[in-house]
Symmetry: C2
Subunit: 251 residues, 2 copies
Amino acid sequence: MSAAAQNKGRLLGVGVGPGDPELLTLKAIRALGEADVIAHFAKAGNASRSRAIVERHLRADVAELPLYYPVTTELPKCSAGYRELIAAFYDGAAATITAQLEAGRVVAVICEGDPLFYGSYMHLHARLAPHFATEIVAGVTGMSGCWSAAGMPIAQGDDVFTVLPATLPEGELVRRLSEADAAVVMKVGRHLPKLRRALSRSGRLPRAIYVERGTMAEEKMIPLIAKADDEAPYFAIVLVPGWEERPGADK
Amino acid sequence: MSAAAQNKGRLLGVGVGPGDPELLTLKAIRALGEADVIAHFAKAGNASRSRAIVERHLRADVAELPLYYPVTTELPKCSAGYRELIAAFYDGAAATITAQLEAGRVVAVICEGDPLFYGSYMHLHARLAPHFATEIVAGVTGMSGCWSAAGMPIAQGDDVFTVLPATLPEGELVRRLSEADAAVVMKVGRHLPKLRRALSRSGRLPRAIYVERGTMAEEKMIPLIAKADDEAPYFAIVLVPGWEERPGADK
């Protein structure tokens, strides 16, 4: 932190956990109490999911700064146009927060799961942390919430554990699933048919568990092999538990 | 849960986070309040680290059940003798807890980090969860605590993220580190010289961060390349952040 930063506000990246409001940490609640401004990401026209998790802990006088993702449905995700639009969105959000920090305010950006594990907050962090005093409040990840809700030990001992995006090509998924003792596959959405094939080819399908909205009221959890359709939201995940030598594993 | 289980006690696997007592969740605190018995693992002759994390939340009238790992320093970890001794220890611990559950008590096993992610609790869970009503309280993992304390985004977008034990052979470490966008290496201990070579051979050494006792008062964090000695405790971890395209990554 530079000396100049000490006269400015503070940036807090606050993990609020996977969805169950009881999975908030004491440190997150303290951060919510200290913040002058609460910033949260949301799809345009939708309520912020992270805001819903912390709602009961928001001070009546706190300022809120919703950050609405640009609508990008007409652009392919790998296109230069998409990348530019998203980069401009994060630049704009960082500039808005910079103004608050320059005015000496404490700004908490609330994040589902853990702030530095595949989260939108990281795009702000990369832009702002070099210039302002910054503190991260670690959170329970979405995947921890899912395997806990499933009561399913995920990895043990010398297991190699891998997190994979379902966006990978089928052959890559097969290879990486075969080499991992335990895995979590994220961003399932429209990739479910391909992921099913990759799990089958790697011999992992029988132990795969499909989870939607883990720890939330609308949670859905089912062995993937028993799921009859190929409908899945973008945020669905698939757990592939490891620990093959666990007592009772083959009974 | 079987019908019979409804007349018995309840088993709670409670994650208490990476070490900072403020990283306890509200749900963990509620579980501590509901439990008749708090069980915790510790090395013989040592205080339990998980107990220290929750100490201020323990009820005065709660029963405590310390579970002391057998002393195994004279046995190689891969030996049949070691495996038998450890299995007997977990069998005994499960039997002790079974007696409490059969008596109708609520038993909370407190666990550093997350209960179902590389934790000792999983050995009890595998033995007890098929027979008793069981609930898992997800926790902030040790690795989340470490990258948050470092303020270091670990993985983003379509990154492949892998957790590796430092016990793997050097060639395997090189191969797996080369193939992962982001990684966490656990159980560093006496494997540090080998891990250093593997990080160097895979081109990952310049971004590797060494962390001891993340989020605790005695936390040590240093770029691995700047660490002058090869001393490391068993629980030290090395972070290899991904997200190579992050803004400012190459500046």
